[in-house]
């Protein structure tokens, strides 16, 4: 007898009964509300199905999952996906009636399906093929005409081949219902239904790629992957998306030393079975043509071993001559937990000062509030999906955590309510109330409340399962601490008000958790003038932290700049000593996501120049060598272990890490592909918080927001995302535009604490007045989100030369 765990019990706060039923002579006990199909799946009984999808639910349209119910008020042939289990129910799946009917359904579904399996792009991973075979249908008896369609051009990401469609409606249910897209749907009727856009054109949704995953056959396929590989030839592994801090499960696939595609993995607590287009189509960084793959000392290419010898002597010399302060090891929120921890170990090994784990000091501070203060009330995305009230402060979900936007849509579909406070003209794929508060106004609201604040706190108090979503970049330490007080105030003995913090990097939470209280920030240490050797591991403070000019100036006093990275960043080209490392797809390790969840990823491909490039488009080279071209990069964690001469298996490393850091006790038990467990809660760690600066007359509050595409370094180096990139504009509220005598499309000069920029102005009615909004996508690299509240002057920029 098998028991299915009641994963929904917690979220509904309701005592559920656990009916026991018999399917094909096997008995199972499942939570009330589960269907026969889910119970059968738990028993390992395959009931073929199409329209039922774990996360889309059941609609009963395909009629494939027919079984026979022998008891109860309505016995007979029933759709397993629709019938909730009942105590004492007896069900058979293999009886004549249901087996014959399923075979007929298989036959009907295949009436129009072309016999192009050998050349079909879905070949090898076609659910239709599996389900048709399991339905028992083999030979087509229908000899009538088959329906054919004209395909649409749906843009560079998704290819359409409508003739293969079996009308399971999963695409429309994913695109419209689940993801809230508006430009794709069902048209026509009878056996001529068509799934597509009103007319040709790029799919508008930021989640369009999910069509590829949900389509059970070859109608919607990944256009960027088409004709590259057969799915069975791919090297695939469970991985974690590095593009933001949500930590979605992905299954990247590579072949011939090239990362060719990314599919959604399945994590019921985090992303369910969907990912965003940034994560799916933003994988080009791993095979970027300019990716540095060779260790280098000054202008000389050297071997990694020589580089390590050199690095060791540089560190030892600096420590001996100038003391522990002289070596600064810099970690990163896009480097794995293991790498960051090994940096701390390296520092200990050489007797250097505690490493700095994040170049962006303020982001590091906010991440610590998430990792410590919030650690006993962290919400998962599943909690967000099941919430009845979500208050969002200072987050543009589609830009900062796209799957959060999808989670919000799901809770709104279940009659939940979203109230969002943000200066930006935020769009969401669902209904929500947006109050455009300026950053200063937001701080005021969170700190002192007023009427609006009281109202919101009342709502939080009344809600059954409230969640606060807190944007670390915009709110900063001060705002997050205020929200901590809000959440504590709204919690009671029965239920806790949870918080979902939105951090910046895939491993922001992990670096914050590992960081030691005595860790100083990068600029303080560099500007002290004591640092002689700076070792940057998978980070470029010029692109990833504000005040790049101060960083550059301070670099002048550093004798040795060492960079380890896999991205062609400016810093890596300027490094005196460079050691190539591997992106997550070429490495095994761990990230900790926004919700404090340990997310393990496994190596998908080995580093090396793709065969497509070594062969220059022709047949791959026929010269066989023992050395993989471009295969020098090593995972940063391995580089550091070799540096300190302590190479360990990953499991060994995890054991040590868990011993060293009790909050990571579960780390050794977590496998790639598993939902991942949360880190243990911790006590609050005090943070120094600065008062907000006074606003000078005639200035605007500067809001630097991540762009939806091109803000994280991964997507900036991903060529496939080019069609989605937008050029940087200076967005102003129409009233401000009018007051300054500016017009849409004119140039303006914006003078900020980070430099002066001449940008095209654009009017955005949905944003807060008194704010100047610039999206960070690399055009103005000095403007980094999360730098804190600052003010800017805006003046007309004159005509173009």
């Amino acid at each position: 007898m098998i028991t299915l765990t009641a994963d929904i019990v917690r979220s509904t706060n309701k005592k559920l009964t656990m009916p026991t039923l018999t399917i094909d002579n096997q008995t199972i006990t499942v939570p009330e509300g589960k269907t026969i199909l889910e119970a059968a799946e738990a028993l390992g009984i395959v009931v073929p199905h199409f329209c039922y999808h774990k996360d889309l639910g059941a609609v009963g349209s395909c009629r494939m999952c027919a079984v026979t119910v022998h008891t109860g008020p309505m016995p007979g042939l029933k759709m397993a996906c629709l019938i909730p289990v009942e105590e004492g129910m007896v069900v058979t799946t293999g009886d004549d009636a249901s087996a014959t009917f399923r075979e007929r359904v298989g036959e009907w579904l295949m009436l129009n399906h072309p016999h192009d399996c050998p050349v079909c792009d879905e070949g090898g991973e076609c659910q239709l093929q599996e389900m048709t075979i399991s339905s028992g249908h083999g030979i087509r008896r229908y000899k009538g005409d088959k329906g054919t369609y004209t395909n649409q051009d749906l843009g560079p990401y998704v290819a359409q081949e409508m003739n293969r469609c079996i009308q399971c409606y999963r695409c429309a249910r994913t695109y419209k219902d689940y993801c809230g897209g508006r430009d794709f749907g069902v048209m026509g009727s009878r056996n001529r239904v068509f799934f597509g856009r009103f007319k040709d054109g790029m799919l508008e949704s930021d989640f369009s790629g999910n069509l590829v995953d949900v389509c059970p056959t070859g109608v919607f396929t990944d256009r960027t992957f088409r004709f590259k590989s057969r799915s069975w030839d791919l090297e695939q592994a469970d991985s974690v998306c590095p593009h933001c801090a949500v930590g979605c499960a992905t299954i990247p696939g590579g072949r011939l030393r090239e990362l060719q595609r990314v599919c959604s993995g399945d994590n019921p607590q985090v992303n369910a079975s969907f990912i965003c287009d940034r994560g799916r189509f933003g994988s080009g960084y791993a095979s970027h043509p300019e990716r540095p793959r060779q260790a280098r000392h000054k202008d000389q290419n050297i071997s990694v071993e020589d580089a390590l010898t050199l690095l060791e002597s540089q560190i030892r010399t600096a420590v001996q001559q100038h003391g522990p302060e002289a070596v600064l090891l810099l970690g990163s929120d896009r480097a794995s937990l293991e790498t960051n921890w090994l940096l701390q170990r390296t520092a200990k090994h050489f007797g250097c000062r505690v490493p700095v784990l994040n170049a962006h000091a303020r982001r590091h501070q906010t991440a610590q509030i998430a990792a410590f203060d919030f650690s006993d009330r962290l919400a998962s995305l599943e909690d967000v999906r099941n919430s009845d009230l979500v208050l969002v402060f200072g987050v543009d979900p589609l830009a900062e955590a796209p799957l959060l936007a999808l989670a919000l849509r799901q809770m709104v579909r279940k009659q939940g309510r979203v109230l969002l406070y943000d200066p930006r003209p935020v769009e969401l794929p669902c209904e929500f109330d947006h109050q455009a508060f300026s950053p200063a106004g937001l701080q005021e609201l969170l700190e002192n409340g007023g009427v609006e604040g009281r109202h919101l706190r009342d709502l939080l108090g009344q809600a059954q399962r409230p969640v606060i979503v807190a944007g670390a970049d915009l709110l900063g330490p001060l705002g997050l601490q205020s929200l901590h007080a809000w959440a504590s105030g709204a919690s009671n003995a029965e239920r806790s008000c949870q918080v979902y913090p939105v951090l910046a990097g895939a491993n922001s939470f992990g670096t914050a958790l590992l960081s030691l209280p005595e860790q100083d920030d990068l600029l303080t240490r560099l500007e002290s003038g004591k640092v002689k050797a700076l070792i940057c591991v998978e980070t470029d403070p010029l692109l990833e932290a504000p005040h790049g000019e101060r960083f550059s100036a301070a670099l002048a006093q550093v004798d040795n700049l060492v960079v380890m990275d896999y991205l062609p960043t400016p810093l890596s080209t300027n490094a005196g000593l460079f050691i190539p490392t591997c992106p997550p797809v070429e490495d095994s390790g761990t990230f900790i996501n926004n919700e404090g969840r340990l997310r393990r990823f496994r190596q998908v491909i080995k580093p090396g120049l793709s065969l497509a490039r070594t062969g220059a488009g022709e047949h791959p080279s026929r010269e066989f060598t023992l050395i993989t071209p471009g295969g020098d990069p090593l995972p940063a964690a391995l580089v550091l272990q070799r540096l300190i001469r302590q190479e360990q298996e990953l499991s060994e490393l995890h054991r040590h890490l868990a011993e060293d850091q009790p909050r990571l006790k579960e780390l050794p038990t977590i496998t790639p592909g598993a939902p991942g467990k949360r880190v243990k809660p911790a006590v609050t760690r005090p943070q120094k918080t600065d008062k907000l600066p006074e606003q000078p007359a005639g200035t605007f509050q500067l809001v630097v927001s991540p762009a939806r595409y091109g803000s994280d370094l991964f997507s900036r180096f991903a060529a496939k995302l080019a069609p989605r990139l937008t050029s940087t504009r200076l967005y102003l509220h129409p009233d401000d535009l009018f007051e300054r005598g500016l017009k849409d499309g004119e140039k303006a000069v914006v003078e900020t604490d980070f430099g002066s920029f001449r940008l095209t102005v654009a009017s955005r009615p949905g944003m807060a007045a008194g704010c100047a909004l610039v999206e960070n996508n690399g055009d103005c690299p000095q403007l980094i989100p999360g730098a804190g509240l600052s003010y800017c002057h805006i003046a007309p920029g004159g005509a173009d030369e």
């Binding site: 009963g60 349209s61 009629r63 014959t100 009436l111 000899k143 009538g144 409606y169 026509g188 009727s189």
Partner: protein
């Protein structure tokens, strides 16, 4: 003209539409006045239940029972929807009624809304019924001006507003949940039941959907009483009169109000005035295109829900379509299936693709290229489509196929044996 008591057609005049003045003069709105003035909503519902009125839209579900599921006494927005999307081939009774006497429906709806305590009503009308929609709009205006519609109806404190909404024109919109989707402005696929419309219907609120003729009967039940209404039928478990729309190979193809339980013989020979061109009766659809055929052996069967179910057919909408002796029943069935396959909404597999398969089988058989294997396949399709689709469309579509296989299998075999249609001389 029929000799039965005329309820719905009592004001009917050839080529004319009766409006408020004449309708009121002939006892119109008396039922409403009686109910609102002297009865509680619950009493009206009980009366309708006692009258044993069964839905006139085709399914024949007891109206009183359906209303019993409706949370009439619960506060909140509730809707009453009139299904006037009369798209069933061979059925045109609602169109005739609304062309003759639109206030019959208006009064019925106000009264039903009172019984069900709904504040808003919609008449969802077939796209082709432009004239009827015009009549209804005029009748609504008249009724509103007369105080029968709007706020505080007849001083009772009861409010009801009524709207006419045109269908986009597909057969599936006659399915009540698809109709609700259509009314909401979304794709008219049928909805999953449960939840039934009485629980979550239009815009997520409790909703009752009733046919035109059903609703028009309510005032007569209120004025005449439940027993009187029941006694109008000729069968013991039947009740009321029924609008019979005659069509096909008859001498007279008109719509008559006849007692429930009248025999097929009387309908065909008395009201239909016999088969045309002095031919023999071969078969008929007793209640619209989705009901299995009746044949010569059924001439004595009383036309009512229970008695027709006993002989393997359905009363449906009482749209009687008769076929003469020279009609190829395979061709008739093919013609009907072609309609249903075309009108499938495309939502579920048995309907979308199963009917396509059935149409192909019938095409093959009718053309004489069929074999006994095709005949077996047809039987197999019938067994696997009927009762196994998402909504009732495919089940109805297979009604004529069931009739064909039950009564005219030899005719199919003749097609196979001769290699051509035996009626194609």
């Amino acid at each position: 003209m029929s000799q039965t008591t005329q309820l719905l057609f009592k004001n009917r005049k050839p080529g004319e539409t009766i409006f408020l003045k004449e309708f009121s003069a002939n006892g119109g709105y008396q039922g409403l006045k009686t109910a609102v003035g002297t009865m509680t909503p619950e009493e009206v519902r009980e009366l309708v239940k006692a009258s044993a009125l069964r839905g006139r839209g085709g399914a024949g579900f007891p109206t009183g029972v359906k209303w019993g599921f409706f949370p009439a006494d619960k506060p909140g927005t509730k809707y009453l929807v009139c299904n006037c999307d009369e798209m069933e081939p061979g059925t045109y009774k609602d169109g005739v009624l609304l062309q003759a006497d639109p206030h019959q429906l208006i009064e019925g709806m106000i009264l039903s809304a009172f019984a069900l305590q709904t504040q808003v009503g919609y008449i969802f009308i077939r796209y082709a019924y432009e004239k009827q929609a015009e009549n209804l709009r005029r009748a609504i205006t008249e009724a509103t001006e007369a105080g029968y519609l709007g706020k505080n109806i007849l001083g009772s404190g009861f409010d009801f507003e009524l709207h006419v909404h045109g269908s986009a024109g597909r057969y599936i919109l006659g399915e009540e949940t698809a109709l609700l989707n259509g009314l909401e402005g979304i794709r008219p696929n049928p909805r999953l039941k449960p939840p039934f419309p009485a629980v979550r219907g239009l815009f997520g609120q409790p909703t009752t959907v009733n046919n035109v003729e059903t609703l028009a009967n309510i005032p007569h039940i209120v004025t005449g009483g439940a027993q009187w209404f029941k006694d109008l039928a000729l069968t013991p478990d039947g009740s009321g009169t029924k609008l019979f729309g005659l069509s096909g190979h008859l001498n007279c193809t008109e719509c008559f109000e006849l007692p429930v339980g009248i025999t097929l013989h009387e309908v065909i020979n008395k009201y239909g005035q016999g088969m045309w061109k002095n031919k023999q009766f071969k078969a008929c659809l007793p209640g619209g295109a989705s009901t299995p055929y009746l044949t010569r052996e059924h001439m004595g069967v009383p036309l009512d829900f229970a008695s027709l179910e006993q002989v393997g057919s359905r009363f449906g909408t009482a749209g009687v379509t008769a076929f003469d002796e020279d009609t190829c029943m395979v061709a008739v069935t093919l013609n009907l299936i072609a309609f249903f396959a075309r009108e499938s909404c495309g939502w579920c597999t048995p309907c979308r693709d199963g009917l396509t398969m059935v149409r192909w089988l019938l095409e093959t058989l009718e053309s004489g290229k069929g074999t006994r294997e095709h005949l077996e396949m047809l039987k197999d399709q019938l067994a696997n489509i009927s009762g196994k689709s998402f909504c009732a469309l495919a089940e109805g579509a297979m009604g004529p196929v069931a009739g064909l296989l039950n009564h005219f299998e030899q005719e199919i075999v003749d097609h196979i044996d001769r290699g051509h249609c035996p009626f194609n001389k």
